[in-house]
């Protein structure tokens, strides 16, 4: 399926995004000033080690939480400033969300097809037959089943189909293929890419190379900030945030054991070198 050309109006735009979690033992900085734009028609994958802030970022993008600081705009709404009602409306009509655990994303007492019908009714507008949506993730023959009759993988695919039904403007999926075998993971990716092709902005998190290779855009997150970005077949580019900070890959970082660097500009190149030993 040919990918739609990303439009210029960003579905998501964030700047200096900070997310801090408080606990009895102190504060945890999940995101530390992250800047990002996501456009409709593209599938973006957020990758990164555990604890890098992927889930926190996706939860914010899904308008399910508010940033601690910074600006986050989703589908034209400032998530930090919007009222609870506005956020509710945003989630209801504009955002499809697949949580990290599939059981969190489905109603336990409704048949698969009914779940899709209900969510489609909330999202409104013209929508595809729920059976077609189920068929797209390989659940055509499980439409009449309750979730407790579905396997873990089937529940995961049902959660994905719930996020896709009604063609929301933004689809956010937290590791949607984590519990799937390769064939089903490909099915889910196909469905997500189709949604992007239909004009949705799709953003997912994943560790899976088979997923990241199919992304229009790959973002690497480390320690709560974007460390690099890869678009299509281009080489990975390190990301400099709005305050000028640059995150070096671990291999490069080892070259600077004193954690000090001399930045030199030579023509249109920037060189980093160790400061001279005294």
């Amino acid at each position: 399926m040919p990918a739609a050309e990303p439009t210029s109006v960003a579905a998501v735009a964030c700047e200096d995004l900070v997310k801090v979690f408080r606990s009895a033992t102190g504060e945890t900085h999940a995101l530390r000033g992250l800047g990002l734009e996501l456009h409709p028609g593209a599938l973006t994958v957020v990758a990164g080690p555990s604890g890098s802030g992927k889930s926190s970022l996706l939860t914010l993008l899904g308008a399910r939480d508010r940033p601690s600081a910074g600006r986050l705009e989703v589908l034209g709404r400032d998530v930090g400033e919007a009222s609870t009602r506005e956020l509710r409306g945003l989630r209801r009509r504009g955002i499809g969300f697949v949580p990290q655990r599939s059981a969190l994303g489905i109603f336990p007492h409704l048949r698969a097809v009914d779940q899709l019908r209900q969510v489609a009714a909330w999202r409104g507008g013209e929508t595809a037959d729920p059976h077609d949506t189920l068929a797209a993730v390989g659940l055509a023959d499980r439409a009449e089943h309750l979730p407790n009759a579905l396997s873990g993988g089937e529940q995961q695919r049902l959660a994905v189909s719930l996020a896709l039904v009604g063609a929301p403007a933004l689809v956010v999926a937290d590791e949607p293929t984590a519990e799937l075998d390769h064939a089903n993971a490909d099915l889910v990716m196909d469905a997500l890419l189709a949604a992007a092709a239909a004009g949705s902005a799709v953003v997912i998190s994943s560790h899976d190379d088979r997923v990241t290779h199919r992304a229009d855009r790959l973002l690497h997150l480390r320690h709560g900030v974007l460390s690099s970005e890869t678009a299509g077949t281009n080489a990975a580019a390190a990301v400099i945030d709005s305050t000028g900070r640059l995150q070096l890959p671990p291999a490069v970082l080892e070259l600077f054991p004193s954690r000090r660097v001399v930045v030199e500009t030579v023509g249109d190149e920037v060189r980093l070198r160790r400061p001279e030993e005294r």
Binding site: V18, F97, G105, H109, R117, G152
Partner: protein, 911 residues
């Protein structure tokens, strides 16, 4: 492309709960209890009314017509033309709940100087004219024939036989003048049974002993011989001999009346009374035509009083039950809300999903409401049934059952609707909270944490002070009577569970590593707050249950004590003359075993002004006959009775009630006549004494009749020859009995003592003073205790289920490292047992605090002694049994739930 037409989430909601039978059961139970808590109080009050009415009617059954009988006797004193007589009878016949009027008429013109006689020649024999509807037919005569029927004895005295001419006359015995004779024919004679003036065929009729018959002027209790005539004959002859005739219409009240029917009957009787003096009515007009003078209607029945008494009892029951009823409703609502909150916790994932999908709070509220609609439909009949069952088993005794009316059904439906709204509100609030929680993530935002423990403590102290400022009687009439104990139980539960949590570390150290107990200690640590919270709920429930047991016993014992203080003995009868004027021995000697003679009088005890009741008893027989209550509060008085016979610095007395006198004090009794003062010495002061009847700020002086009679003024000494009860300032004498009123009558009859005096029974005193309503309120409290026990069981079950859910994953892993299923189950049982054990300690402490606090349960503080909660050994045993049952049930439920889980599913779902 198509538009989705269905909203499956909404359609699925009504059957949603059916998929989780445990939660369904909990919600059904909670809603049913809510409905029952609303439906039961009106049913309770209605049953109290029915029961009081039933008691009153049964007590009045068979009594002579008058204020003591519910049956109706209408009396008038003039002849009415047949048409007007029929108007009167028709009006009486129209009275609701009464049978047909039974018409009678008798000559009542006799006095000590005018006597009614039958005369034949120069012979005469006493005979008063008598008519009763159907009497002549039963004698075998023709009711239309003119003539008279005389007894065989009278006929023999006159020497006449049927067919002979006889005369009836009113003879002036003082002047012995020539009487006016009314001549007629002797139609027949009849035999009479011994002791009766009625013909044998009439005396055998069950109602004939209540007929109004002429009596002998010299012996008012003995009937005069009759001259039975027809009504026309009676009219004609009475006019000729100037006899005064009294007409009666007797109406018997129907059996098994409802309060509404009885009220209608009483109102009907009152209406007849009003109409009889209103010439604009048919009845008043008919009475106006009486001969020789317009008739005046006298109405004799005790029904209005019985109905009013039943209403008073019902009102008293309502007042006394109200605080507990409100408490029960609050508890039931709390249980339902808590059940839905816990259900919401079990659906935490789904709540997040709903929030994520943007469901609005009102949609969540409606979904919650839709879920409980079927529950509410079931709860209306179930709650009503439970209310009826509760009232039947724990409420006032009622022989006619519990009548559920339309209003009760509406009340139950309203309660069910309230439950539905409550669930909707909880569901909506939960959804709102889930949405709002996101806002708190903003930097600088502060979560508002309510210090529940401190808040409850402060509320308890404030409310406790507020309650103590109320008069003791007022305390029991506000919902505070149940709210404050609830707060006290909650405060104690919080303190104890927190203390237990602090001690948990030490407990861990003493358990053997790897044992089930060791595992339980480590598991509890991870969810300590939740376990503590549920333990606190169980503690509050058990505490309230134990408190209700103590309250019920306290009220029941208190009622028994107060009844003893009021009535003195099971039954007692005032005896006017039999013990007077016959010396000391007769005055103080009990007429039979199981009885005692008690004398009452008023006496001044300077420096206090005004009469205090004086109770002169016979110490030798009094203690065994008197009622000493149930709680032991009156036992101190019993122990003092022998001391009344001892020597002291004055006549020994016991003071019962509020007094400034103390044991050992000396004072004097002033009998208000001839300046005679009797020195006394107080041997003891008690709050109450059998028959003391002391009011607040008042006291009764109890003294030995053997010691006081020689010292009282001669004019009032009942021992002296010629003493009578009619003398000014005379003692009143009573015979107390430990038997029933019937047994007392029999005893007195056998001892040849008059048994027609005022009768006082413990039951009567209990009803008259509203104490019987207290016993019913106590039963309601017991039912309330059952409700909180259900709450405790439910909380313990939830605890077990939550622990089983918590352990879903760890059980799998622990089994793989060598723990057996039995060990895991025992471990969980240890946790539940520990939580419930902590709850038991808290319950015991809270009951101890509440029992030690000033009483809040006495609704009749004007009658000493005060009723207070009374815990018993049986309560402790009951609590221990409940503890064992809770642990067993919770363990079984948790183990069963854990056993039904499949390892693969558990691990895949993350528990």
């Amino acid at each position: 492309m198509n538009r989705p037409a269905a909203h499956p989430l909404w359609w699925a909601a009504p059957t949603r709960l059916a998929r989780t039978p445990g939660w369904l059961l909990l919600v059904v139970v909670a809603t049913t209890l809510l409905v029952a808590s609303v439906a039961a109080p009106p049913l309770f009050v209605a049953t109290a009314r029915t029961s009081a009415l039933d008691t009153g009617l049964r007590a009045a059954a068979g009594s002579p017509f008058g204020p003591g009988s519910a049956d109706l006797r209408v009396v008038w004193d003039a002849f009415l033309p047949p048409r007007d007589l029929q108007t009167v009878l028709d009006r009486l016949d129209a009275l609701p709940a009464y049978g047909e009027p039974d018409l009678g008429a008798s000559g009542f013109g006799q006095s000590r100087m005018r006597r009614a006689y039958a005369v034949a020649g120069d012979r005469r024999s006493p005979a008063s004219m008598f008519f009763h509807e159907g009497a002549i037919e039963r004698l075998g005569g023709d009711p239309d024939a003119e003539g008279v029927w005389l007894s065989e004895t009278t006929a023999a005295e006159l020497g006449v036989e049927p067919g002979d001419r006889v005369s009836l006359a009113m003879i002036d015995t003082f002047f012995d003048g020539r009487p006016t004779l009314a001549r007629t024919t002797l139609l027949g004679t009849y035999p009479t049974p011994p002791g009766s003036v009625l013909p044998t065929v009439l005396a055998d009729l069950p109602a004939s002993d209540r007929w109004l018959v002429p009596f002998q002027p010299d012996s008012p209790g003995v009937g005069a011989p009759l001259a039975i005539v027809s009504l026309p004959t009676l009219q004609k002859m009475s006019m000729r001999i100037f006899e005064t005739v009294v007409f009666t219409a007797d109406l018997v009240l129907d059996h098994d009346l409802t309060p509404a029917q009885a009220t209608a009957a009483a109102r009907g009787v009152e209406a007849v009374g009003r109409e009889s003096v209103d010439l604009a009515t048919d009845l008043g007009s008919a009475l106006r035509s009486g001969e020789p003078d317009p008739a005046r209607l006298d109405i004799a029945t005790g029904l209005p009083g019985i109905v009013a008494g039943a209403e008073t009892t019902a009102d008293t029951a309502r007042v006394q039950v109200r605080p507990y009823a409100v408490g029960g409703q609050l508890l039931a609502a709390l249980l339902l809300a808590a059940a839905w909150v816990l259900l919401g916790l079990s659906r935490r994932r789904e709540q997040l999903l709903s929030s994520g999908l943007g469901l609005r709070p009102w949609e969540l509220a409606l979904l919650g409401a839709l879920e409980v609609v079927p529950v509410c439909l079931v709860a209306v009949p179930a709650g009503l049934g439970l209310g009826v069952a509760g009232v039947l088993t724990a409420g006032p005794p009622s022989g006619v059952g519990v009548d559920v009316g339309g209003a009760d059904l509406v009340g139950a439906a309203a309660a069910s609707a309230v439950g539905l709204v409550l669930v909707a509100a909880v569901a909506g609030a939960t959804g709102l909270a889930a949405d709002r929680q996101a806002r708190l993530s903003r930097l600088g935002g502060r979560r508002i944490t309510v210090p529940w423990g401190s808040a409850v403590l402060v509320a308890t102290v404030v409310l406790g002070i507020a309650v103590l400022t109320l008069e003791p009687q007022e305390r029991s009439r506000t919902p505070l009577a149940i709210v404050l104990p609830l707060l006290v139980a909650t405060t104690v539960a919080i303190l104890v569970t927190r203390a237990a949590a602090l001690l948990a570390g030490r407990w861990r150290l003493r358990s053997r590593a790897g044992s089930a107990r060791w595992l339980a200690a480590r598991r509890s640590g991870t969810v300590l707050r939740e376990v503590s919270a549920l333990a606190a709920v169980v503690a509050v429930a058990l505490g309230m249950f134990a408190y209700t047991l103590a309250v019920q016993r306290g009220i029941d014992d208190g009622v028994a004590d107060k009844t003893a203080a009021l009535a003195g003995a099971s039954s007692s009868m005032e005896v006017a003359e039999d013990f007077r004027g016959q010396g000391r021995r007769v005055a103080v000697t009990a007429p039979a075993p199981g009885t005692s003679v008690v004398w009452r009088h008023g006496v001044v005890v300077p420096p206090r002004f005004g009469d205090q009741p004086l109770l002169a008893i016979d110490p030798e027989t009094f203690a065994d006959v008197a009622d000493w209550g149930a709680s032991g509060e009156l036992d101190a008085g019993r122990a003092l009775v022998p001391r009344l016979a001892e020597e002291a610095e004055g006549v020994p007395v016991i003071i019962a009630g509020e007094t400034e006198l103390e044991p050992g004090d000396q004072a004097a009794l002033d009998f208000n006549s001839e300046g005679v003062q009797v020195p006394i010495q107080v041997v003891g002061v008690v709050d109450a004494f059998p028959g003391s009847e002391s009011q607040p700020n008042d006291y009764t002086v109890v003294i030995s009749s053997r010691r006081i009679f020689p010292l009282v003024p001669q004019t009032i000494d009942p021992r002296r020859k010629g003493a009578t009860s009619g003398e000014a300032g005379a003692f009143t004498s009573w015979v107390w009995s430990d038997g029933s009123s019937a047994e007392l009558r029999d005893t007195l009859r056998a001892a040849h003592v008059a048994g027609d005096g005022e009768l006082v029974t413990a039951d009567g005193r209990r009803v008259a003073n509203g104490l019987v309503a207290s016993t019913w309120a106590a039963a309601y409290v017991a039912a309330l205790g059952g409700v909180v026990l259900v709450l405790g069981f439910a909380a313990a079950l939830v605890l077990a289920l939550r622990l089983a859910d918590r352990d879903a994953v760890s059980d799998v892993l622990l089994r793989r490292v060598g723990f057996s299923n039995g060990e895991l189950a025992r471990s969980r049982a240890w946790e539940i047992g520990r939580a419930v054990g902590v709850a038991l300690v808290a319950a015991g402490l809270s009951v101890a605090v509440l029992v030690a606090a000033p009483t809040m349960i006495d609704a009749t503080t004007s009658i000493a002694p005060l009723a207070r909660p009374r815990p018993g050994v049986r309560d402790a045993v009951t609590l221990a049994a409940v503890l064992v049952a809770i642990v067993l049930v919770a363990w079984l439920v948790g183990a069963r739930r854990a056993a039904r889980r499949r390892t693969a599913e558990v691990l895949r779902a993350g528990g």
